[in-house]
Amino acid sequence: MIKTLLATAAAVSFGAAAASAQTVGFSQIGSESGWRAAETTLTRQQAEERGIDLKFSDAQQRQENQISAMRSFIAQGVDAILLAPVVATGWDSVLEEAQEAEIPVVLLDRQVDSSEDLYLTAVGSDLVHEGEVAGQWLVDNVGDEECRVVELQGTTGSSPAIKRKQGFENAIEGSDNIEIVRSQTGDFTRTGGKEVMESFLQAEDGGGNICALFAHNDDMAIGAIQAMKEAGVNPGEDVKVVSIDGVPDIFRAMADGDANATVELTPNMAGPAFDALNAYWEDGTTPPKFIQTESRLYTQEDDPEAEYEARKDLGY
């Protein structure tokens, strides 16, 4: 029974592939954060630009919803499936079903523990690399001066916190003039960033001993900027501020001269995914198993005001 169904689905999918408009199913985790909402918005935009018919399914943070959405995509005979997996395990059987139906699956943003043969490719960012880009910016900007850095970590034990910290440390390793003097968790929140920065300022002579701040995400940097302003320290000048994510508000802060640099974690994972799929549909080109998105560095020179305007309606 299932086999017939799958065979029909495969037949339908071939039929659809022959037609001009491709159909792609997208199983999104849910709307856990502003970044996720922006990813959904951008995926829709990218699909529209390429004339792809996108079928969207919101899993509300539940794997069983994602699996049933994928089964329904397979039954509908879509040309490809985009999957942002909520957890890493338990995908084998549904990925096998997609493979039997000859529907390529592209993973967005997160990875799965299944065999690499079961999906076409994964698009994502390298968290260690993000930390390295941030660290490299600082190395390039302080020159030979003595620089005491304070670090706002993400939630203790979370993989972005561990990997971004590691990347930053890799980048400053060769520079003996740069030293992380205080490092504490701000739990990825604005309140956390502000509270911890206040204690850093108290502990480091009202901020006079601090040369730069590295925050594992923009929200903590925004909180820390407020703490510095209230303490009479001039963020962006007295203390250099570099953070990661590229949310709209950090571009506003950069436009105001309060933040210096941010490394973007692009929510446009769908763009590279559709490019890879197009090549695959046209002549069967198999993409590499991991497509790393660009971790682009933005500074005050990159017209932050325009970047803010471009991002503010993406749903962050």
Binding site: S183, Q184, R190, T191, E195, S199, A203, Y316
Partner: protein, 342 residues
């Protein structure tokens, strides 16, 4: 010694001991300077940062005194913060922002109070509903993003100061004094305690326990509203995902460190507020001491454990006896019973 001081003496001693401990790791801890028209120093930071938990603890003390518990205050904070940020962006002005936030807090309290007092649902279950759903409501208001605003008037409630004292500190001290006066200068406090000790008996004695219970939960919602306003004004934005997250537990802990029984009955708002400051001293102390962040929660847990063990009803009288014997004063049975009653 005045009775109030005697009641909060253990909390004062704990706070003093903690401050001494933090000073060992961070020698400038007690230093307060006056710069740019505001007081600056770690102690001031504690008085300011402890505001949300202190505010929540005021309402929580009343609720716990009725033998109830309010788990929804963290979520209520998020809702009220979202309301104030939404109102200010929608152009309702400062009065509108504060008004909407307070109304939302009172409404949340009315919901909890009705579930507990009218439908007879156990408080822990009744308030769990709003604890779970409330954050979703807040996210609906903010549309899932951090709703930021640029309004100096509202921001003043988070980062402004009057005569050098931070505004959040003034708010919790003022609200604490007002509520304490209200319950202690009238019979209200006595009636609340009566409900906590035996609701049925107090109803039979003529107390309108239903109305009073609802009022107590509304007071808790009102306090949560102010905590939400302070938290939102502080970062100039309403963060529905994180505002007040897990703070209900800190508020309950503050009440417990304040020596109030979770079984209801006698309560002291001053002691709960000191409890909130004790928790904040631990938090800020850990940050100042500069330990790796992996140790934060372990250190906090260990200190809380020590404090609660020292205050435990089984051990505290024993410590007191040992202390008296050392001093050579004869053990006065009367004094012991009086202490136990306090």
């Amino acid at each position: 010694m005045p009775r109030v001081i005697q009641r909060v003496l253990p909390q004062l001693l704990t706070l003093a001991a903690l401050m001494a401990l933090v000073s060992v790791f961070f020698p400038d801890f007690l230093e307060i300077t006056y710069s740019d028209g505001r007081l600056v120093g770690p102690v001031i930071d504690i008085l300011k940062r402890g505001a949300p938990v202190a505010l929540l603890a005021i309402g929580m003390t009343l609720v716990i005194a009725t033998r109830g518990i309010d788990l929804s205050v963290g979520a209520t904070m998020a809702i009220c913060g979202a309301c104030s940020a939404w109102a200010i962006s929608a152009g309702y002005g400062l009065a509108g922002a504060l008004g909407f936030a307070m109304l939302a807090g009172l409404a949340a309290g009315l919901w909890n109070g009705a579930l507990v007092a009218v439908f007879g649902i156990q408080p822990i279950v009744a308030t769990l509903i709003l604890m779970t759903a409330g954050r979703g409501v807040a996210q609906l208001i903010t549309e899932g993003r951090i709703l930021t605003f640029n309004h100096e008037g509202l921001a003043f409630f988070g980062s402004g100061d009057i005569l050098g004292v931070p505004m959040p500190t003034l708010i919790w001290v003022l609200l604490g004094v007002l509520v304490a006066l209200l319950v202690r200068r009238t019979a209200l406090g006595l009636l609340i305690e009566a409900i906590g000790i035996n609701r049925r008996a107090s109803t039979l004695a003529g107390i309108n326990s239903r109305v009073l219970l609802i009022a107590v939960y509304m007071a808790s919602g009102f306090c949560a509203a102010w905590a939400g306003i302070v938290a939102t004004a502080d970062i100039r934005g309403a963060d529905a995902n994180n505002s007040g997250l897990w703070l209900e537990l800190d508020a309950i802990l503050a009440v417990v460190i304040g020596g109030n029984s979770l079984l209801g009955g006698r309560f002291s708002i001053a002691a709960s507020l000191l409890g909130a400051m004790i928790i904040q001293t631990i938090d800020t102390g850990i940050l100042l001491a500069g330990f790796p962040s992996e140790f934060n929660l372990v250190i906090k847990a260990a200190l809380v454990l020590v404090i609660l063990v020292l205050q435990s009803p089984n051990l505290a009288p024993r410590f007191a006896r040992i202390a008296r014997r050392r001093r050579g004063t004869p053990a006065a049975g009367k004094l012991t019973t009086r202490e136990a009653g306090e």
